[in-house]
Symmetry: C2
Subunit: 452 residues, 2 copies
């Protein structure tokens, strides 16, 4: 019998939960400070809501749920249906959430009369993908998204950048925020009159980091560009310098391309508004950044940990028509998604988790027997009333075993109440780190613990 977890999914042990909660709580706190509200959507959605939203590959990766009861009952001509692709929609009506974006779009359309626009929502829930599991890629993982929908203002982009900067500052992660703009990418394609090749061009230049300039050129030519066309855009691809230098150069290059100028203008606005906001992260214009081109329409954002080959730990952008797929038009939004698993890996590798993060209780009372336990339970209650995490070892077993438990759980204080202490209304308090042991009153114990 196989009682393991499903391949590609994970149990989270207490230590891992504490670290994950630290990440989620940090992000949540920043979202709340910026006036975002939390929503949740169901794990299961109708397949009609999910199918066709993530491309053909995505449709395959959707987990489908077998209809309840006699799922074959309504299948007519069963023998003709023996092609699994034809059979699937007849026996499955529901699927598991693949991301938070499509359910969010459905949510906005369904509840458009119950929410205030611009709607600032955050959502932290697991998603499921029937992907081949590999290092760092799971079949169940949490997404952690915030979006502002129903406003065209670029101040929302500014806010998203502020949020990114604030979250990673709080996590002590030194990051680079890369920005790009779909309009600028379009202008590059227009420059050589190859708008038909926009996706191919951006896909190729997106590989710059991985394969280098020469291979990108090869890739572009394989994708149908002429060498002449490639040469025309080379100055853009090779553009070096800080963001304002690059923008100024691009402005010259795009002087006859309105869409390019619009993209530049958007960038100027964002940079201009960020200037006085004490952003600590490095912000760079990265034209090789071309994520999510099937739905991003303006700003594109990606965050990487500096000096660490970890891939993107957050990303997002502006989309002009997310809810159109569900029949609600003209609702522009911008959002960002935090990759909790990658952030976890980065903090772990850089030893940025507080060592106290594994601590559960602050004090444990040793169990010396029924009478003593009764007194300790009363002490425990009084300490908890002061907000001090307290436990009493439930079994009257050898003290070594009890101390080992406290030690394994990294409980910093142990309280010992034997006959002598009971008679004197005292507690022998052992500091598990220094090993120091003193006989104290409950009030003194409180003071020492709270002083820590």
């Amino acid at each position: 019998m196989n009682f393991n977890v499903v391949k590609g999914t994970r149990d989270f042990l207490p230590q891992e939960m504490n670290k994950r909660n630290y990440i989620f709580n940090t992000i949540k706190e920043v979202f709340l400070l910026h006036g975002f509200s939390q929503i949740e959507t169901p794990a299961m959605e109708n397949l009609s809501t999910l199918m066709g939203k993530y491309g053909e590959e995505g449709d395959k990766l959707l987990y489908k749920i077998l209809n309840s009861g006699n799922f074959l009952e309504k299948v007519e001509n069963l023998n003709e249906e023996l092609d699994y692709k034809k059979l699937t929609p007849k026996i499955c009506q529901k699927g598991l959430r693949y991301d938070l974006t499509v359910p969010f779009a459905r949510f906005v359309v369904n509840h458009q009369n119950d929410i205030s626009f611009p709607f600032k929502r955050y959502q932290i829930q697991p998603v499921w993908r029937a992907d081949r599991p590999q290092k760092g890629r799971y079949r169940e993982f949490y997404q952690c998204d915030c979006d502002i929908i129903g406003s065209n203002s670029l101040l929302n982009e500014v806010e998203i950048i502020e949020i990114l900067d604030e979250v990673f500052n709080r996590l002590s992660l030194n990051v680079e925020i890369k920005i790009s703009n779909r309009k600028i990418l379009s202008a590059i394609a227009q420059l050589i009159n190859r708008e038909d090749k926009l996706i191919e061009i951006t896909t190729s230049i997106d590989k710059m980091d991985k394969i280098g300039y020469d291979k990108v050129v090869e890739d572009l030519i394989t994708n149908g560009l002429t060498l002449d066309e490639v040469n025309k855009i080379t100055p853009i691809l090779k553009l070096e310098g800080d963001i304002s230098f690059k923008l100024d150069k691009l402005k010259e290059i795009f002087s006859a391309l309105p869409i390019g100028l619009k993209g530049i203008e958007e960038m100027y606005f964002i940079m201009n508004n960020i200037k006085n906001l004490n952003i600590k992260s490095e912000i760079n214009l990265d034209l090789t950044l071309a994520r999510g081109l099937n739905y991003y329409t303006g700003t594109i954002i990606e965050v990487k940990v500096k000096d660490m080959p970890l891939g993107s730990i957050a990303g997002g952008g502006r989309y002009d028509n997310l809810t159109k797929i569900f029949g609600l038009d003209n609702l522009s939004g911008v959002g960002v998604s935090f990759g909790a698993d990658r952030i976890y890996d980065a903090l772990e590798q850089l030893s940025l988790f507080d060592e106290n993060i594994e601590k559960t209780s602050t004090i444990m009372f040793v169990n010396f027997g029924e009478k003593e336990a009764k007194i300790c339970n009363i002490y425990a209650q009084e300490l908890r009333n002061e907000g001090i995490k307290t436990e009493l070892y439930p079994d009257n077993v050898k003290i070594q075993k009890q101390m080992k438990y406290a030690n394994d759980k990294k409980i910093p204080f142990v309280g010992l109440v034997g006959e002598k202490e009971m008679a004197e209304n005292k507690i022998q308090l052992k500091d598990m780190i220094s090993g120091k042991q003193e006989t104290l009153s409950l009030i003194e114990v409180k003071k020492i613990i709270e002083g820590k």
Copy 2:
């Protein structure tokens, strides 16, 4: 096209999320004060882990996930498999979590070498059941469990009762904690030599509340008891009085039944240890309480809101062999599960949610244009640095529209910075409740907001 949520599942709007978070956070806080650690398990489990654990009915209510890819490929003799019951295990290997208990048992067995026993864990995650949806019954709902596993001590039962009392006190819910004991129920069956009918007897008397004594007698007889046997246990069923009176009476009745006396002794211990712990909830012995007899072996607990016909809002008990199904024997545990949806309904009906619970931001700055917005963004950042939830309306639209947004989101303060205020480095602060408006410095604004 149907873009609604799946029947029996729900979207949660921000206001609902705030209320739900209040409930979960209250419970979590109490768990943490008692030294419990959080774990999470995957939504999907192998069906071999889930099947056969919830009875025949439960197996039917499990959501099964279609195997990925060509799920028919490995089905031999497809034409013979056209019985859906035979086909299911061939095309589905995974199912959705039905409760938190079975995954917890699997978790303990898989991680027995990584955790410290007694293991105090809590877990708050959704579960899924393909049940017929009806008022108050959903196909996706959260369970919120805490368990102490690996200790036989009855002090754990005491702690569970403390936790229940503390949670419901914090939620201002006036509850009755009903306790019962499997051993006492067994003794009742032994009393008439009908241990073979234990389940039937307890199932019948469990209905006492709903159908009354006479119907319970009919039910018992239909279930195979003689009138003579029923008469013999009638004094127990009709036992009235407080818990110590009932226990004393039962001690007499069970004088020759060791298992009954053991159950009574357990109860005495619990009551005795609770005595000095300032438990505010009413605690009663309720022998008609017979939940989960297929796995509870000792204490059984159920919590009801007083004077409200709402059913149980929490329940649990002692189980001696939860992990045996996964091959790990002799691990006794006790736990309790909070019914978040019912607690929500109770708090709603009794108007016990704080009216400020719907508040998101504390202050919103009105957007008067680019220059003004830039200044407001700097103010906003400074307020957020002080922990004040702040937003800036992103669009420069009519002030009425912006004020309506603040009002709808119940934002208590609005900051107005026009040309005059900019020149003076001031903010016009409007108190949205009193309507009062004053021109203040940023420091004064902070003080007023923090004073609230």
